[in-house]
Symmetry: C2
Subunit: 298 residues, 2 copies
DNA sequence: CATGATCATCGATATTATCGATTTAAAATG
DNA sequence: CATTTTAAATCGATAATATCGATGATCATG
């Protein structure tokens, strides 16, 4: 008996109520009056409820009609939104964008860019995944992701890279640690202590900056690693932006390693040349890289 | 170019994806395969975007198709909800219900009943308005409300009333007030002090329980009146359920008035005989009155 | 390579939407 | 109160479109 309503019929009812009459509605819809009458009648048949009160000269909504028209307008809005999405997609805005982020990079910068995209109402469903070391590229391949933000870029001809703001790393240790007071620490000395490291999320290979001692604790992220450092479990590299405050207030100190206790790297935004970025991807790259280097269009 | 999508076409796409093929979808929709093909093609034309990838043997959703189908399924759900609402309305559930509540009655009981209705997923949009004294009946008439919960029921042939749980009123005063220590307070004595009263929200006439002194402060509700009593602005009647705690801990005391410091009334649930209640109204009455007296059906 | 399955296309037909004219009924008018 | 005006339903004819059944192209499978 009751069946799904027809969008055109809802549109007719909406026009009748909005323009105050069948004739006016017909004019607005570029139809004749009898067509609108037919459409509204059809809607009433579909819903099995009288929507308009015809006992008076000019029709008016029944209570049920009022409630159902409100629902119907929501429906029309949703349908329009669907059409808008389709329009966006054919305008080059991609439906999905998967971004793999190396956990050593500042999350805040990425989140700020994503927030900007949300404010710009891009229709893209964006997925952000955080991985570590080799796990980044591994996940990039496995998920066939669109963009990866990596620490070390393994050059390949089918990938295109753009430099991101430099990140500096500091070899840190708790001030209570025996190594904290030593100057010109040798590699041999380091090997006598526990090294803290973030584990490769793909479980394949280690960081080139590791020291190769016997005792290494692997943590599952830099937040955990920082906690371990603060608890004086050992020494280890940290990105400077994560430990700036701790170094200032003396909760952590820089380990004076003879081989250097600082190094910097240029993170890269990498995407495939073969599957060029859509507008959302390019916009994201623009926000992260800064307008300097243009991102290849399709 | 891009136009509003057709619900039937969305349904076709949904069936194709859900059943994994045009032939299976056709069977599920009781159509032939070519019809489903036509419908999906129509949807793609309406949205201006390829939804299915036909390069492989079995079709699969394009990324845009995936996003748009998700949106489309939401649309179908919304349309079904609209049909469900219509079904409810023709089953006798009214689209709207307006209830006027006398502010002297315990709000909590009404809210609990409304919560139960919400849990029972009635499709009715319920409006609850609180008024005082004559304002209740005034608003009942003016808004053409369905139900009023009143303190004093003015008997009329076109109204039907059902008793609600009794409410007791207590003549209260702050223990710091001069009248607090007096026993067998006379009307003359009362007149020497400020009486606190809730103002009639229709600005027409006073409460029959007022004492008629010269100095009366009118508050805009029993919460305000209670505050005024606690601040020792004067004396006045309060429903007992609102001051039980204060009387117990001694923040307020019962004024020992010679004419009696307590009275009770039976609130009534009143509705029109001419416009009988719908199922939501009857259910609400049932929840408030308790199954004892059956509420007249249409 | 033959066979079966999937899906697009196409002509014929059934269904539905629209139009234009007419009818009915309710204000508005004099 | 009769007449005119306006609003909306009804109806037959026609245009638009959805569906069917048949066919053909493409791909997978043994």
């Amino acid at each position: 008996m009751i069946m799904r309503p027809d969008l055109d019929a809802i549109r007719a009812l909406d026009a009748v109520v909005r323009h105050g009459g069948f004739a006016q509605a017909a004019a607005a819809l570029h139809r004749v009056q009898s067509t609108v009458s037919y459409q509204v009648g059809k809607l009433e048949a579909q819903l099995g409820v009288p929507l308009l009160d015809r006992t008076h000269y000019r029709v008016q909504l029944t209570p049920a009609g009022e409630a159902l028209l409100a629902e119907g307008r929501r429906l029309l809005g949703q349908a329009d939104h669907m059409a808008w999405m389709a329009q966006q997609f054919s305008d080059g805005w991609e439906p999905r964008l998967t971004v793999i982020l190396d956990g050593i990079l500042p999350l805040e910068a990425s989140l700020r860019a994503l927030k900007t995209l949300a404010e710009e109402k891009v229709p893209t469903r964006i997925q952000l995944k955080v991985e570590y070391l080799g796990g980044v590229q591994f996940r990039f391949e496995k998920d066939n992701a669109d963009i990866m933000l990596v620490k070390d870029y393994v050059g390949r001809s089918d990938l295109d890279a753009h430099p991101l703001p430099e990140v500096e790393c500091v070899l840190c240790v708790s001030p209570r640690h025996p190594l904290a007071d030593r100057v010109r620490v040798t590699l041999r000395e380091l090997h006598e202590h526990v090294e803290l490291s973030v584990q490769d999320s793909s479980d394949r290979g280690d960081d080139e900056h590791m020291f190769g001692g016997d005792r290494v604790f692997y943590l599952d992220g830099f937040i955990a690693k920082k906690q371990a450092l603060l608890m004086d479990l050992g020494f280890g590299w940290m990105p400077r932006y994560l430990v700036d405050r701790e170094l200032q207030v003396g909760a952590l100190t820089e380990l004076r390693y003879a081989g250097g206790s600082r190094y910097s790297f240029m993170p890269q935004l990498v995407h495939r040349v073969t599957a060029p970025l859509g507008r959302t991807g390019r916009r994201l790259a623009e926000l992260l890289v800064g307008g300097s280097t243009p991102i290849r269009q399709q």
